[in-house]
Amino acid sequence: MSSDTTRTRVIVVPASKPALPTHIKLRHDPGRGRWHVLAPERVFEPDPIAIEILKRCDGVTSVEQIATDLAKDYNAPLQEILNDTISMLQELSDKGVVKAA
């Protein structure tokens, strides 16, 4: 969205290092006891897996590393987790919620 892009769709790959843009806020809502992603005129309610992925979107950790961590934590097959992570991040990137440089 900013001047660093040439306004083309970003395709998320295992080496991508996703981050939340500064105007996207992952916030815990104590009143409702859940996490929200606050975006321009949108509120998303991430499920537990999405929360874990979003918390790791720091612009440094690669998608592959995120999936490796999650596969370990959830004792699940890496390839499956990687595919799910990529498809989720692609969807969020298309919605402008994550920046996947």
């Binding site: 859940r34 321009p40 509120v43």
Partner: protein, 386 residues
């Protein structure tokens, strides 16, 4: 990931149940003053005057109460919110209490320095409205000179400060043919999001309906244009497309259901379930000056009146869509059928649906539409004659 869209009154998706108790969004109409005179303005025909507006401290208190109530997003609107010199003071408090702040502006009264300051104070997002991308047309619609050039400038500043930008484009018969250029304009401006928002016919827009209503063919074509652009611009710009419900078969879930996710505070501090709800008789609107916001939301008569489904009559009561569209819009039901508890005439099950659609078809087919009635404050006082 579930998505709840507090401002998308017209989306088909039901509001997520977990959030139904506390409102998600608050539309703060800081003022009714505006340099533009768009004939589809959503403000009421009777506008609040400057000397009756809430003070800085009162608005700041609304922000604090909103956060306490569980509101997540605050939409600073108007009129034109930037005509208030204390906008910065209000944004500062809103950001401090953790509200996601959205400025809804026409841009023409904004300066670069002010925008910079607003960003520093924590403003999260700017929604910039445009009337058209054709200068002559834009001027005709807004009754304001050189607005478009100023908006281009504002859009540039927003991107310069690395803030997210939404272009809001109200669509009607005067600009619907320019839709491809409007979309292109938003891309050029660096917008991450565009609202292609067909006019909804309340207040000034209802008064000007015959001058604004596009034909069904135009609307269908515009939907095709949006679909194609959406696909082409996937990952570049997000689209929100609002259709005019005169050509719909089911009504919009207005405000995501009455008193369910959104509330509105007028310049004077009246708290409304939606910005048009003052057109519904029999409602009592509490004021933030008299009663806590949470109490108004939970117990206020205006909020309770059409909340949920128990107020419904047939065909809504037994309708499988009762909790999807909530019988549509109470204000539209009131305006068109004379009873706000009737189903919205946009619904094909309404006995008024035929006349409703016919009105749109007839008006849009007129070769020469009537002139605009521009949005203006009524003269201050007319002591002698009406």
């Amino acid at each position: 990931m579930n998505e709840i869209a507090p401002m998308e009154q017209f989306s088909e998706k039901p509001v997520v149940e977990a959030c139904a108790r506390a409102p998600v969004g608050l539309l703060a109409e800081l003022t009714h003053r505006c340099p533009l005179q768009c004939p589809y303005c959503s403000n009421p025909l009777e506008l609040d005057r400057v000397n009756s507006e809430l003070t800085t401290e009162q608005w700041q208190d609304v922000m604090r109460q909103a956060a306490d109530l569980g509101i997540l997003q605050i939409h600073l609107s108007g009129g034109e919110p930037t005509v208030r010199k204390d906008l910065e003071d209000i944004v500062e408090v809103a950001a401090k209490v953790g509200l996601y702040t959205n400025l809804i502006t026409a841009g023409v009264t904004l300066t670069r320095d002010r925008l910079k300051r607003l960003k520093e104070l924590g403003l999260d997002h700017v929604q910039l409205s445009i009337q058209d991308v054709d200068d002559v047309n834009a001027e005709k619609i807004s009754a304001y000179k050189n607005g478009l050039a100023k908006k281009r400038e504002v859009g540039k500043w927003v991107r310069e400060f690395d803030m997210p930008l939404t272009i809001n484009a109200p669509i009607h018969r005067l600009n619907i043919e320019n839709l491809p250029n409007i979309i292109e304009f938003a891309v050029e401006m660096g917008a991450g999001r565009i609202e292609v928002a067909n006019i909804q016919y309340y207040a000034w827009a209802l008064k000007n309906r015959a001058a604004l209503m596009p034909t069904r063919a135009q609307v269908l074509k515009s939907a095709e244009i949006v679909e194609a652009a959406k696909e082409r611009l996937k990952g570049v710009m997000v689209f929100d497309f609002v259709v005019p419900d005169y050509y719909a078969k089911t009504p919009k879930p207005c405000m995501g259901g009455w008193g369910r996710g959104v509330m509105n505070v007028t310049p004077q501090g009246r708290v409304l379930p939606c910005h048009a709800s003052e057109s519904v008789p029999g409602l009592v609107f509490d004021n933030v000056k008299d009663r806590p916001l949470a109490d108004i939301w939970l117990n206020g008569q205006a909020f309770q009146k059409y909340r949920g489904t128990s107020w419904m009559k047939e065909p809504c009561r037994s309708c499988p869509r009762a909790e999807i569209d909530f019988g549509g819009c109470r204000c539209q039901a009131m305006a068109f059928t004379g009873d706000a508890a009737n189903t919205d005439p946009a619904c094909k099950l309404s006995p008024h649906h035929g006349a409703f659609v016919a009105a749109a078809e007839q008006e849009s087919a007129e070769q020469t539409p009537p002139p605009f009635v521009y949005r203006r404050m009524a003269p201050a006082k007319a002591p002698a004659a009406e």
